[in-house]
């Protein structure tokens, strides 16, 4: 059977091309999504600063959940400093280092901040240099990198108080040499230090003496020996070959304290909890992409199979006539489709790995993913995609061949010329049920004003479009009959034939109409969902921001309290409040099941009332002190003012906070706002931005401008633009660089939209071209009955116009309900927000596509004389 299937496949190359294209694209998408998901679980950022450490001890940076993936925690959880001495004494340990990171930046001779990568964690203690890869710094003369031989003569003692050592990369950019005096802003505090050494290796980093470092890191209040002192992590260098042994010993020792011991690649995971938490996003992104992708892939693959089987109906019918059983015919169809699919999967899977890498680029450049995180390219996603597709193709091909396989053999040959007269009732009912069901999905944006609920609009659209694919033949037949009754007697033969075809071949036309309609529905609902949520969030933010200006200092790692206080004293400044975001893990109850979900959360203080209008429904921001939170109106139903909320902060600390206010700006500020007091010590050292409200006079603006000119690294932004950098859903948008105002989620969703749309268009063109070529025989018969080539072309154009007209109307109608719900839920009007040209643009695209995909094969068909065409078609 397989052999026969392959032989037949060779002779029906054109019909099977549609299947091959559909499967190729599907394999690419599924593989790419699989790679992202697998990378989220398995891939590691290579250790950089910790490359020289053999064993690393950290607090746990994830929150285990029964029955679900652990929630990654992006904020650094500390480790007791006393552990350093304890571990240093273990056998096999050469050195134990209590490592800390804190914001530090060097001001160059020109008064500007020297760009040195991630300023928020550039500062360390001198002892951390022991962790650098191949760091033989403890000798008197460190090996040089060639570029700076005189400066490399670092002393083993490291910098004294008032001195710093600079990473060689940073030193080169700052043009600083040993013995120079440089201005350093560490943890927001400016000071002048003497460069005591340059640390080779080409990296950045500002290394202070260990006592100063601990003080700046804020872990000990200046007393390294205090029992409450903490460090970020403890790193060990061990004797050669003793890594596993030491790691086991340490693990036994710290297990009860809940600490994690990492070696090898896992060291990279603990070096930056933020990058690791970003990695945790990958499975979530893959999950959210997979729903829409699977629906579109299923639609296109099933459509391509139907077209291919229909083109081969005569072959299959002849097989029946020569004695094949219905089961054998279905099996032949299924195996033939599988042969073609497997052949197409090979390039498809390869393409998928490339596509995953492109997606990683987009994610990294939009700041959602650490650029240092590589993807894991294992065989699993490719194999899984292939298996999944075979499992889809086999039953889909059998279903497509079901009808022709069950006809009596003689009838099968005769019927191979025409198509079944009556569209199936079950099919139409199923389609109707899907469309009705899609309305249920469409109401989700009304129930919750969150980006997750907004996805309901596009899901509802696609489910409705699939319903339309099932109802399509009935609808098209009805429209055709209605038109036929109303066609004026003087209508041209071409028009009359086009209408007759529409109701006489309602299955074929219905397939074309529903794929065209899917293009409309998919584009409109998916794109408008993104733009509407964005507009609603931006609207919230605009409405909330009463500040005229925002200060931020990405190059310094954040804005210090001192800077905020100084701004408060400027003439014309009326209110100043810091604004930061962190991550909070809160219980989320959905469908009766409670899971812990991590979400971005803003950090505000009582002062925030002066710069933000949070549309307070209850309570008072002035109470936002101590262990308190404000929640949005949606969450307030379960957690009203006065109730308590059990949360886990971004570093894993469980807290019980009292709800003191209810606000109405959930889209812009998240569902939970933490009090500054609550988040202190559990989030970044410095505020991401400071909102400033002035009296609006020019003098105030000048004072602010003058202030930023005097303070290197501090930048002034417009009111809401700056606020969006601090608030909103993006946790890492501290610096408004990269993709400008487009938030990363929107960006990745638009990329997914573009890629899927391209695939969808390919599927549409396939269906239409195959459908037109299938009509060679009919066109020849028409020409023999006296139709001129011009009349045939004119008929085909009218058919294309009819099909695209019905598709636009149906697609528009199916999009209206979800989009209206979305508009009402997010913007309080039954209209989504977005570019006005999207709807006419997609309509034009559908029309152009329908005409081109019909016109070109028709012209090709017309080049063959009709009598010869008939002889070929027989």
């Amino acid at each position: 059977m397989l052999h026969l299937a392959a032989r037949m496949a060779r002779h029906r190359a054109a019909a099977l091309l549609a299947v091959a294209c559909a499967v190729l694209g599907a394999a690419a998408f599924l593989t790419a999504i699989g790679v992202l998901a697998e990378s989220g679980l398995r891939s590691h950022v290579a250790p950089q600063r910790l490359a020289g450490a053999d064993v690393v001890v950290t607090a746990s940076q994830s929150l285990p959940q029964p029955g679900d993936l652990a929630v990654a925690l992006p904020e650094r959880a500390p480790v007791p400093a006393s552990l350093v001495a304890e571990l240093a004494g273990l056998p096999g340990v050469v050195a134990a280092v209590g490592d800390v990171s804190f914001p530090a930046a060097v001001i160059g001779a020109d008064g500007e901040v020297v760009d040195a990568g991630d300023a928020a964690s550039a500062g360390h203690g001198w002892s951390s240099t022991a962790l650098l890869d191949g760091a033989a710094l403890f000798g008197s003369a460190a090996p040089s990198d060639g570029e700076e031989p005189p400066d490399s003569a670092a002393t083993s003692a490291g910098p004294a108080i008032g001195q710093v050592a600079l990473g060689s990369g940073l030193a080169a950019t700052a043009k600083a040499h040993v013995g120079d005096r440089v201005q350093v802003i560490a943890a927001g505090t400016p000071g002048t230090y003497e460069v005591a050494a340059v640390v080779p290796g080409g990296m950045g980093g500002v290394y202070f003496d260990d006592v100063t470092a601990l003080r700046l890191a804020g872990g000990s209040g200046g007393q390294a020996a205090a029992p409450t002192a903490t460090v970020d992590l403890v790193a060990l260098r061990v004797e050669p070959g003793a890594v596993d042994e030491v790691a086991d010993t340490v693990r036994d020792l710290v297990q009860d304290a809940g600490l994690i011991v990492s070696t090898g690649d896992a060291r990279g995971d603990v070096e930056s909890p933020q990058a690791t938490a970003g990695r945790g996003l990958l499975p979530a992104i893959a999950g959210s992409m997979s729903g829409v992708t699977l629906l579109v892939v299923g639609f296109i693959v099933a459509g391509a199979l139907a077209v291919s089987i229909s083109a081969q109906r005569r072959d299959l019918a002849l097989l029946r006539a020569v004695g094949a059983t219905p089961r054998q015919v279905r099996s032949l169809a299924a195996w033939q489709a599988t042969v073609v699919s497997v052949a197409a999967m090979i390039p498809g899977v390869a393409l998928g790995y490339l596509l995953a890498e492109r997606l990683r680029h987009v994610l990294a450049s939009s700041g959602m993913l650490s650029p240092d995180l590589p993807l894991t390219f294992g065989p699993l996603p490719g194999v899984a995609a292939a298996v999944l597709l075979v499992l889809v193709v086999q039953p889909a091909a059998r279903a497509a061949a079901r009808r022709v396989s069950r006809l009596p053999a003689t009838e099968a040959v005769a019927e191979s010329r025409t198509e079944p007269r009556t569209p199936s009732r079950v099919r139409a009912l199923t389609g109707g049920a899907l469309i009705v069901g899609s309305l249920g999905i469409a109401v989700t944006p009304l129930l919750a004003r969150t980006p997750e609920a907004a996805i309901g609009a596009s899901l509802a659209g696609i489910v409705a479009a699939i319903g339309l694919a099932l109802v399509g033949p009935l609808l098209v037949g009805g429209v055709g009959r209605w038109l036929a009754r109303r066609l004026p007697a003087r209508a041209s033969a071409s028009t009359w034939l086009a209408v007759a075809h529409t109701h006489g071949h309602s299955l074929r036309v219905g397939a074309a109409v529903s794929t065209l309609a899917l293009v409309v529905v998919f584009t409109l609902t998916y794109a408008f969902t993104q733009t509407t949520v964005l507009a609603a969030a931006a609207g919230d933010l605009r409405a909330a921001t009463t500040a005229q200006a925002t200060l931020s200092a990405p190059a310094l790692g954040g804005v210090s309290d001192e800077v905020a206080a100084a701004v408060r004293d400027l003439p014309g400044v009326e209110a100043v409040a810091p604004l930061s975001t962190t991550t909070v893990v809160a219980p989320l109850t959905m469908f009766g099941e409670t899971t812990m979900e991590s979400a971005p959360a803003a950090i505000l203080t009582p002062d925030s009332a002066g710069v933000l209008d949070l549309d307070l429904r209850d309570g008072d921001l002035a109470d936002l002190r101590g262990d308190t939170v404000a929640v949005d109106a949606g969450s307030a139903r379960a957690h009203p003012v006065g109730s308590t909320l059990d949360l886990v902060l971004g570093d894993g600390t469980p807290v019980r906070a009292e709800v003191v206010a209810v606000h109405g700006r959930g889209l812009a500020f998240g569902s939970i706002i933490l009090a500054g007091d609550l988040a202190a010590g559990h989030s970044a050292h410095l505020a991401q931005s400071v909102l400033v409200r002035t009296d609006g006079t020019a003098a105030a603006s000048e004072a602010l401008a003058g202030f930023t000119a005097e303070h290197p690294g501090v930048v002034l932004l417009d009111g809401s633009a700056g606020a969006s950098a601090g608030a909103g859903a993006s946790a890492e948008a501290g610096g408004a660089d990269g993709l400008g105002a487009v938030p990363p989620e929107l960006w990745i969703n638009l990329v997914v939209l573009a890629v899927l749309l391209g695939y969808l268009l390919l599927g549409v063109v396939n269906t239409l071209v195959a459908g037109t070529l299938e009509r060679r025989h009919e066109i020849a018969a028409l020409r023999l009955a006296g139709a001129t080539p011009r009349q045939v072309r004119s008929m085909m154009r009218r058919e294309a116009a009819l099909a695209s007209g019905v598709a636009l109307a149906a697609g528009g109608l199916l999009s209206v309900v979800p989009l209206a719900m979305l508009g009402i839920g997010f913007l309080d009007r039954p209209l989504p927000a977005g570019p006005w040209w999207l709807a006419p643009g997609v309509a034009a695209l559908v029309v152009v596509l329908a005409f081109a995909a019909v016109e070109l094969p028709t012209r090709r068909t017309l080049r063959t004389p009709p009598a010869r065409m008939l002889a070929e078609a027989l």
């Binding site: 010329r417 009359w496 010869r868």
Partner: protein, 270 residues
């Protein structure tokens, strides 16, 4: 559509519609030109296959001519060239005195739909149209007003009066072929070409179709040219033209099936 009325109230077979811009070259002596005329026609296909080799043939109005020959003898090519479906490599083909070889594809199509009717082995009805719509299709394409009296008589003659709203798929093979014959006659063409019109039918149904064709010739004076390899079918014709290797090798007036079978067998074993 005026026209002389023939027997049984049928209008005569003379073409009355003049579409296509090519006026028939009316002979000076006033006698009508033959319905079909091939003059020294050769057809060479790409690759050098000579399907027709200097064929000259005239089919008089009101006559029933069958073209016979073994497979590959060129009988289908002869029909295609005579009907304006294909253009000869050399020579002249004319229908009702109009030279086909000087027309482009569109003009040939317009000539065909008013002057030529086709009946094929595979019926070639359009499955999405009703029987009536199929029959009137050539008129519709020509933009001609249907002559309901004529159509009614025609439909009754082919025995499909109660099947007009059905789809072709709902008819038997014989009924479909009769619908195809009615369609071929709808525009009252100068000539009807049949390409193995009984080839897909069983013996009895094939017989009925031949009876119908014969009757059209006898009662309406319709010109019919039929390509077949079945001696029994060919024997119903007034004249049988026998082809071999692209040439007309014999022409028999009112032959018996037996005689035709002998002739054909002789050609095939040659």
């Amino acid at each position: 559509m005026g026209g002389r009325r023939g027997a049984l109230g049928f209008p005569a077979a003379a073409p009355s519609a003049r579409v296509g811009g090519a006026a028939p070259s009316a002979p000076v002596d006033g006698s009508a030109p033959p319905a079909v005329a091939l003059t020294n026609v050769s057809k060479v296909y790409a690759g050098g296959v000579r399907a027709l080799d200097d064929v000259t043939l005239a089919v008089e109005r009101g006559s029933f001519v069958a073209v016979m020959g073994p497979s590959g003898s060129g009988k289908s090519t002869l029909m295609h060239c005579a009907a304006g479906l294909d253009s000869p490599t050399r020579g002249r083909a004319a229908i009702a005195g109009i030279d086909l070889t000087r027309l482009d594809e569109t003009a040939r199509t317009e000539l065909r739909r008013t002057h030529v009717g086709f009946v094929f082995q595979a019926y070639n009805l359009l499955p999405s149209l009703s029987v009536m719509d199929n029959i009137t299709l050539p008129l519709r394409l020509a933009g001609a007003r249907p002559d309901h009296e004529w159509l009614g008589a025609l439909v009754e003659r082919v025995g499909l009066t109660d099947r007009l709203t059905h789809r072709p798929g709902e008819l038997s093979g014989g009924q479909q072929q009769r619908a195809a014959i009615a369609r071929a006659l709808a525009a009252r063409p100068a000539v009807v070409f049949g390409d193995e019109p009984t080839g897909a039918l069983d013996l009895r149904t094939g017989h009925e179709v031949l009876d119908l064709l014969r009757d059209l010739v006898d009662t309406l004076g319709q010109t019919v040219v039929m390509v077949t390899h079945d001696p029994a079918a060919a024997a119903r014709a007034d004249r049988v033209v026998v082809m071999a290797d692209g040439r007309v090798v014999d022409s028999l007036e009112a032959p018996t099936p037996a005689r035709l079978a002998t002739t054909l067998t002789a050609l095939e074993v040659r």
